[in-house]
């Protein structure tokens, strides 16, 4: 499918220039396949800041929540589910749990709404802690199935994105990049510049965390620095 899109927009570009204003939408992998400044990206909602080693530039820890982004995501939920109903579904600490859900969505609106739908089809309300955690984890399972069906390289690529915040695709890795982008496992954000990140659910995978630590250690060793402490799974919220 992506090959067809690429053919249309690369080879057929002259025919697409109609004498009226036209907006064409293309899937995210096209950004990697045909990098061009003329494609404007609809980014995910930025939910976190990042702590970087000022000397080395590599990411050393997940940062704090980004309040403006979280507020936007919270508003999306508020317009669909009133607070009273949220308390019924999520319990008295519904704001805390909602923050966790928002962070798990990675700022991808469809994911956020899907998670909310998942919450609402639970058997009992309000959700117990265990059931709530399981609901989030089940959402992550879907992502992990995509990763694990694509082998070790599907771990190395997100690990590199996590550390550099940039998706770079080597020759021969386009198919894998397509899969990770279409599966929304690598998300693109934008503020003053565009940057990439891995879906937060993926960071729950021990194998990915190992790949990140390995690459981080290699990166720092190459620069003669001390490796940072071991990476831990992010706590929701």
């Amino acid at each position: 499918m992506l090959n067809s899109v690429e053919r249309v927009f690369a080879n057929g570009a002259p025919y697409l220039r109609l004498p009226v204003h036209v907006i064409y939408t293309v899937p995210p992998p096209m950004l990697v396949r045909m990098p061009t400044d003329s494609v404007r990206f609809l980014p995910m909602i930025k939910l976190r800041t990042w702590d970087r080693d000022p000397a080395e530039g590599a990411v050393v820890a997940r940062g704090k929540p980004f309040p403006e982004g979280v507020a936007v995501a919270r508003e999306m939920v508020r317009r669909r589910v009133p607070d009273g109903a949220l308390a019924e579904f999520l319990g008295p600490d519904f704001e805390g749990r909602l923050r966790a859900i928002i962070q798990w969505s990675g700022g991808y609106p469809r994911e956020l709404l899907r998670l909310m739908q998942r919450v609402m089809t639970a058997e009992r309300f309000p959700l117990s802690d265990r059931l709530f955690q399981r609901t989030l984890r089940q959402a992550a399972d879907e992502s992990s199935r995509i990763v694990f069906s694509n082998g070790q390289r599907a771990l190395d690529m997100p690990a590199k994105v996590y550390l550099t915040q940039k998706l770079t695709v080597d020759p021969g890795e386009h198919v894998l990049a397509d899969r990770l982008l279409t599966g929304n496992l690598i998300l693109r954000y934008s503020n003053d510049k565009e940057w990439d990140d891995v879906h937060p659910a993926l960071l729950e995978l021990p194998a990915l965390r190992e790949a990140i630590e390995r690459q981080q250690a290699a990166l720092l060793a190459a620069r003669g620095s001390t490796p940072p402490p071991a990476l831990t799974a992010p706590a929701p919220g």
Binding site: Q117, Q133, Q138, R145, T182, E204
Partner: protein, 603 residues
């Protein structure tokens, strides 16, 4: 709780929440087009899921619901030939894009069944999903009701790749592991009510006289709260014992045990045994899986030596395992007079299981005389305590007899005893955490024996029943532990609501699952159903392979994975698919086993 903590052991992975219930609730709440993905590991699970939906959804919605099942294979008659584009269009694409007027409304649920997708049809499904992706908006408008995609895990990934936009508008994904459903839906319904699954139909037994005689003597449980002394319990076993002595005959074993090449992982066993010899009759240590003492406290002592013995057996230290099992049997007899009521069941379970394991060990190495002595001794002893414990001993005694007869080469008698042991095990209430794998093991043994007798249909049934019993929905520790030993000892019935609870699957389930899958595959193969055989073998290989990284399960996993890969290669050879056969031969070589070990389920 993090994924890391859950991923430590395969058995620690909690099953998904009530996926069927979630899917039903989603469909009930839906009022327009929604797209759901139901990942079913097998076509059979997909069939059963659809049956469940058809039975539950109308009642939950309070309105008529019509299901339109779109099966690309519905009119595909050329087995072995890939699906054609025409077939895919006629069976799936047209009804979605141009549904008849009667199907363009809420209340009609379209189900696209891709659970049967075969590897050779990948291109056809990729093409179908690609066209669906292009027409997703049209399909959403045309249907008016919901669309459910039934897919295997592989097909799910194919859909993500070929129809990324359609996939992105899914409302949710539901995963149905294992063989949690039966085609007629009765299994799920009966579980929901808290009852054990019904017994599979008994095979023709050929009128073996010993079977008729044995069924005359199942010990009856006493009313709750009353216990017989061990002496009286032994009296109750006497007719049983006489029957054994009267009917027994010995002939050479069917095949000798092939020693496996296993790593020695348990190094502290001898020390622990010595410590036990010096200490009191009750174990006071909590011992970890690696044999390290974690805490000094009075725990459920029978678990500890059993775990050690099982570990030794898995590690190929049969002599050590034999010694520990023997110690358990002897201690259970001695300690039986001293322990509190609440511990009776633990003693009984330990006693029965240890005896059974001893018989299995002797059978594995083909020592018929030793096995015979043990079975007689087991019948003579009758367990340290009556009632439920005696019932358990009875059930495992029958299973031991089955093993013994199989070792002799009398498969028909073996099968008859396995069938009786299954019935006896099903009659038991939950007995704590030590017993849940006994029933699936019995079912696997029955399946293997039925297959050896050429009864492929029964072999399939029993293998499926074993997989059902091992499925996360049913065979979880949480389920079996729902009623505590103390409660059972007091005669408390299992609470229906708690029977439905879930928890991590015990570690021992995974090799059993692979064995059941191997048995299922062989039965399907014998039945001529190559497609199902391939699917089962691939799952068996996957389970076995995934266990190779677990040192304490390595020996079994090695044998199981090797057998699955080898048989996959043979099947593909027979089908003329040299490329696939070569691949699986390479995988078998990777496992690095020339002959199968005992984990292969005796070949």
């Amino acid at each position: 709780m993090t994924a890391e903590s859950l991923a430590d052991e395969p058995g620690d992975e909690p099953p998904p929440d009530d996926e069927l219930g979630r899917l039903v609730r989603s469909l009930v709440l839906s009022e327009r087009f929604h797209f759901y993905v139901a990942v079913c590991e097998t076509p059979r699970a997909a069939d059963a899921l659809l049956d469940e939906l058809a039975s539950k959804l109308p009642a939950e919605r309070g309105a008529e619901v019509r299901f339109v099942r779109l099966d690309p294979y519905a009119k595909h008659e050329e087995f072995g030939e890939p699906l054609s584009a025409d077939e895919v269009v006629a069976a799936a694409l047209e009804p979605l894009v141009y549904p008849p007027e009667a199907n363009r409304r809420h209340g009609v649920v379209h189900v696209l069944d891709a659970s049967r997708a075969a590897p050779e049809d990948e291109q056809a499904f990729r093409w179908l999903f690609g066209r669906m992706n292009e027409r997703r908006n049209h399909i959403a408008r045309a249907l008016g009701g919901e669309l459910v995609l039934l897919a295997t895990p592989d097909v799910e990934q194919l859909f993500v790749e070929a129809a990324p936009d359609f996939w992105s508008i899914r409302s949710d994904t539901y995963v149905f592991y294992g063989e949690a459903f039966r085609a007629d839906g009765t299994q799920v319904a009966s579980r929901a009510l808290g009852h054990p699954p019904p017994a599979p139909p008994a095979p023709p037994l050929g009128g073996a006289p010993e079977v008729v005689t044995a069924t005359l003597w199942p010990p009856k449980p006493l009313p709750s709260g009353r216990h017989l002394s061990p002496e009286v319990a032994r009296e109750r076993f006497k007719p049983f014992l006489e029957f054994v002595r009267e009917h027994w005959s010995v002939s050479p074993p069917k095949r000798p045990f092939e020693p496996d090449r296993l790593p020695e992982t348990l190094t502290t066993l001898e020390e622990l045994l010595e410590a036990k010899g010096r200490g009191s009759s009750l174990w006071r240590e909590q011992v970890g899986s690696a044999g390290n003492v974690r805490a000094q406290e009075l725990g459920p002592w029978p678990y500890v030596p059993e775990e050690l013995a099982e570990g030794a057996r898995l590690a190929g230290q049969a002599d050590v395992a034999r010694r520990i099992y023997r110690t358990i049997v002897d201690d259970a007899r001695r300690d039986g007079r001293n322990v509190r009521d609440g511990q009776w069941l633990l003693l009984d379970a330990a006693f029965a299981r240890a005896f059974f394991s001893l018989v299995a060990l002797e059978v594995e190495r083909g020592d018929v005389d030793a096995a015979r002595t043990l079975v007689v001794e087991m019948a003579e002893t009758g367990g340290p305590k009556p009632a439920l414990g005696q019932q358990l001993t009875w059930a495992l005694w029958l299973q031991s007899l089955g093993l013994f007869y199989r070792c002799l080469g009398s498969t028909e008698s073996a099968l008859a005893y396995f069938v009786q042991s299954i019935a006896a095990l099903r009659a038991l209430p939950p007995l704590g955490t030590t017993t849940p794998e006994l029933l699936p093991e019995g079912l696997v043994l029955a399946s293997e024996s039925a297959l050896a007798l050429g009864q492929a249909e029964f072999a399939v049934e029993w293998a499926r029943a074993a997989l059902d019993a091992l499925s996360p929905r049913w065979g979880s520790t949480g389920l079996w532990a729902a009623t505590s030993d103390d409660e059972v000892a007091r005669g408390a019935p299992p609470e229906p609501a708690r029977w439905g609870s879930k928890g991590p699957r015990p570690r021992a389930y995974f090799p059993l699952e692979a064995r059941a899958l191997l048995a299922l595959a062989r039965a399907h193969d014998a039945y001529g159903d190559i497609r199902e055989a391939l699917a089962a073998l691939k799952r068996a290989a996957k389970v076995g392979d995934s266990l190779l990284s677990k040192p304490n399960l390595y020996p079994q996993a090695q044998g199981l994975a090797f057998a699955a890969y080898r048989e996959l290669a043979e099947l593909y050879d027979r089908m003329g698919d040299e490329r696939s056969a070569k691949y699986y031969r390479r995988e078998a070589r990777r496992i690095g086993l020339d002959t199968c070990g005992p984990g292969d389920g005796f070949g």
